[in-house]
Symmetry: D2
Subunit: 382 residues, 4 copies
């Protein structure tokens, strides 16, 4: 039998092959360009039909979130539509920290990834399809350093300015799957929440804020190794044109509600982080934030408020991050409430799925639920 | 130009042609077999491409709910997938009560109905498809007087016995569209509510309790003109084998929660009616009932609690009706809570849709929301 | 374990249950209304999950074509989309001629039929869909005795009048599956043969000439027990309004080419029968007929010219049959060439498929190939 | 109104923006990396909703086939599924040879390309889907210089070795659309030609021989600027590993029939070129070649034999080209017949389509027809 082969030279591919013998491979993850970060992987294995492959990703103690590997299982697909999980073991001691993936494909091909990937082709299909829906327009807010469009879909006839944006961190692909669910619901002509929200709000939706990092197979950064979610206080054309373009458009529209969609490597749950500790903090903002989390928790068993990030102390908020910056910037004028939504790379441990873990399908459903929760939140406010 | 032609000799078809001249037709609705009831219509017009047809349904002051005609607009489809509404006027004085429908089809064919129809072919497709979903079984509870199967889908591994059943009144087709949404959600492997509910409950789902009436194009009754929802105290093989079969199966499983899905001719809103006034009434049952309605109202802008039927006085409940009978019968043993869900033939006036009115798509979405509401209701109860 | 149940009270259903014990049933086929013919069956079995059922159709020595039963295997489906074949044995001696079907469904439900059924709901969907294709109109040629429309789709801008019609014999459902393939190709904007044919011809397509017999679950006849393909010399409103309506429209348009699509119970092959022996026979007609058969044989391994019906002697043609009548009637004026296309109920023994036998899919493909063959036939003629 | 924006930084993108003013852009095409060739373009225009854009591609007198521009119309899509054609004018005198495209998109976005693109994501989807079909295996024949897999799908149980390969010239995307049609037919369980061919042949299908050039947006060459179809006499790992890998696999299997699928910039027709003039030429090979062309011409009005390339004189064949090399190499041992299939970038002028020109849909249909023609060709040979 011949050796398996491994390829990653495609949209969002990332792996380096150190050695292959038979069905075993020793691998490592390439760092984000001009950055120390690495954690995202995505590659294809060929020639393994009916044989168990053993894939060792080594040197991971140096990865961005070594704490993300215990309990993690790699995503795998043979048909590129359904993404399951492969048996995965973490050994901190072996070879600088080794994740060992074992999987026996039925056919010759299997794709492995840190999470089900979301390609730029699919992004462009999403934009093209949504732009043809009734009442939706598409707008190019700017251009990335590699020369890609920063796409923004807009819909709704109301006064409340709602911004939804995702994939500042490109390896957090669940964020763009979430966008499919959110947009599918928002454009549904029969959905009652969508109908109400389109009457009441103007939506600005950026499904992918970091197409360069996405395409390059990065975890966290853009084409020049910059973490976009540390640039919101002072974005520049040289380092962070993506943030600059979006923030400029936000300044034009104003922002009443913002949701920044992410994935979290370690915590096995979906949760929301806020903007506590901003200088301009008001009770009303805090109440709005708490109320949305409570509504969403009621609406979805795949969302919870127990686990999450620690809350910043008064005055200690990091204003380089988007939601802090937006709540600060548009608080006085718009009473802005800004949410950082985090979905797990692993699973929701309150309702675990041994076959799929957290998945594109669950991200899509949470996207749908977040829209309904927004509707309920606004309706309640009256 | 030749006269239009009109046909109704198909599954759930119902119209009688009194006269046709050019593009104008004088029509009337056939009564349910061995019954006085009539209100459902469903027919096809041929040969009208590009010409406005005028269809006059006469004699409607004698229909089951003359109060349903003011404000009503007829459903129409040219592709048999998308159902819109045609311009419709009601004149109580003309020709014994006349509904006048005007519509100009783009093509040669148009189908008109009281509401978007749901054929037995589609019913069998639904049963066959759902029976193939993971963890679902199908069971034939009995046979109707015309010789049709009373199908029941079953799923879930829990102890809480939930019965969902629809179309006791066969012309209320929105009830089976609702079933598509409910079943689609219940069988979704990624939906968190469905996953929780399948752990906690055993579902018994009867998508169509009256296939004979459905096929015959009846409004309210079965093959022998019996209103099934007046038979639950004492069903018989001769008059109501449908109720007998379902009630026997309920007696075997017990019933903690029941939902009987209907359409209402007059009230422009979706609402729930209960079982107030049953002899065995308990506060706990009443609380459960109120709590579900409140949850569903919060979850869907296409459901409300303001409009609805008057509540029965203590001891005055009609035990021939299914939800009263079930709450009475399974109250002491199971604390049974039973809901009669009503959707409009017209529209939800709180959120009207001028193009479609109430529609299959909205019925499906409400079915999905009712399942989520059930999940929240059970979760809250702990 | 409980007994299986059997139902057939649906569109094109036909079976009578004589006895059921456990998973065994003794059955017989209902005769066509007001006719001696019977051979078509279609019914549903419930409650057999994981158990082998044994279904005995008895009394079949009296069926229309007892010669059709040896070598025949019953069609079966669990999902109502894919139709396979069940193990089937014929015993001429048992119980007046018994066909024994054995099958173990994975799930609770299985549908059995003489051939994959084609419902009137699907027919109406086909008409509605095709009528919306670019350049297609639908026309109602008349009304049946039960009150159903005789639908005719028309397309093409050319002078050559082509008539395609099917299901004079309603139990020959492969004929309407064939129509799906033919229409799908004819309306394909990118297909080169379709593009040429639409330039050169005017197509008149009657996908189902006998909707009453189809719906009633007949083999051969219409609502009053008349074999339509023996009425073409003198159709009447009382016995054969279907033929009368179509023939009247043919007289208006003229007919250059006609294809009458059928199924054959006995011969395990697809073949064409002609109009030899008509009084008006010309060499040119005969050449056209031979040439088409040769082209189609070259184009499809699922068509052949070896097996078929014997050829009528000069002057002995039966002018009550459609293709003889049309070749005779439109021979002098239009050089009409008329084909009776027969597909097998069993299989094409030159290329047998043990899993499916002859199938909807193969009927559809032959429909596509017959259209291409017509294109080649006309192109060759110049 | 703001200026339109243009992006091409995606899979197979190729354009350079020289200037944009309002809705007008002056553009030029990037050369293939390390090559002089250029002709392929693919880019996206944003921000033009309802305004006519004027796109001038300049300097095209230096392109690979300046003779391809007269009569050419650019492909355009707004939904990324349907590709139409835009009004296009060629002026040899202007700005070094200018192609002017004018188009008014309904929405904000439009994609323009030399021909409907075929992305590597779609390629991987195709491979993954086909590899799951019954009886199909996938094999990685080797790796390109950029590190991409050279995929080969294999199916069939017969002795006749058939090789189908496409996109040696990566900008000829119609060749991979053709592959979709060929593979769809070959894997169809109901298609009679496919069933016969799978019995008789072993198919080796390489849908894309040049993934590097495809991804880079090249016209003619691979990652190092090499025209693969001039390497078949002596491929090397440094210049042409794609050819080396495929030829090695061919040497293992032998080759009875080969088809190399291409697009032609100038000739408005589909045609086949052969291997005349090879030293090992035999009459039998020549007869086989002629016979296939005649069959295909009969089978498809979108194929013809009048227009095409001039035939090489005896002994003058260029053995660096694949079909010459294969006919020479496998002639004596296998009687190899090798075809170079060319489809137009423009249209088939015998059957022009003003809306779409030559299209993905027509390429797919020709792929289907080429498979059927192969079946007929082999069947005739007996
Ligand atoms: Ca993050
Ligand atoms: Ca009712
Ligand atoms: Ca027949
Ligand atoms: Ca070429």
């Amino acid at each position: 039998m011949s050796d398996i082969t491994i390829h990653a030279q495609f949209d969002s591919g990332n792996i380096e092959v150190l050695a292959i013998t038979g069905t075993e491979a020793r691998l490592t993850i390439r760092r984000d360009h001009r950055s120390e970060f690495f954690q995202w992987f995505h590659f294809r294995v060929s020639g393994a039909a009916g044989r168990e492959v053993t894939l060792r990703l080594t040197g991971l103690n140096a990865s961005a979130y070594p704490g993300g590997w215990p309990g993690y299982r790699a995503a795998v697909s043979e048909d590129r539509e359904h993404w399951g999980r492969a048996a995965t073991a973490w050994d901190k001691e072996a070879d600088g920290g080794t994740l060992t993936i074992r999987y026996q494909p039925a056919g010759d091909l299997a794709w492995f990834a840190y999470f089900a990937p979301y390609s730029l082709e699919r992004h462009d299909d999403l934009i093209a399809t949504m732009a043809q829906a009734e009442g939706v327009t598409s707008r190019c807010l700017g251009t990335t350093l590699d020369g890609r469009a920063i796409d923004c879909l807009e819909l709704g006839e109301g006064e409340t300015q709602v911004w939804l944006y995702a994939r500042q961190h490109p390896g957090e692909t669940m964020a763009e799957w979430w966008m499919e669910g959110a947009l599918d619901r928002l454009t549904d002509p029969a959905d009652p929440w969508a109908r109400l929200l389109r009457q009441r709000c103007r939506f600005h939706v950026v499904p992918n804020m970091n197409p360069d990092g996405s395409f390059r197979g990065h975890l966290r950064t853009n084409a020049v190794g910059v973490n976009l979610n540390r640039e919101w206080h002072a974005p520049t054309p040289e380092r962070s044109p993506e943030v600059l373009a979006v923030l400029r458009a936000m300044d034009q529209s104003g922002v009443h509600v913002a949701m920044d969609v992410h994935g979290d490597e370690a915590i096995p749950a979906a949760f929301i982080a806020g903007f506590h500790g901003i200088p301009a903090w008001t009770e009303a903002q805090g109440t709005g934030y708490d109320r949305y989390r409570a509504i969403l928790e009621r609406r979805s068993p795949d969302f919870q408020t127990r686990l999450g990030y620690p809350t910043a102390r008064p005055g200690s908020a990091n204003l380089t991050m988007s939601t802090n910056q937006l709540a600060q910037r548009f608080g006085p004028s718009h009473g802005c409430v800004a949410f950082t939504l985090e979905m797990p790379f692993k699973d929701n441990d309150d309702l675990p799925d041994t076959a799929q873990g957290w998945s594109p399908e669950r991200s899509i459903q949470l996207g749908r639920d977040c829209i309904a929760a927004l509707g309920e939140w606004l309706a309640e406010r009256g």
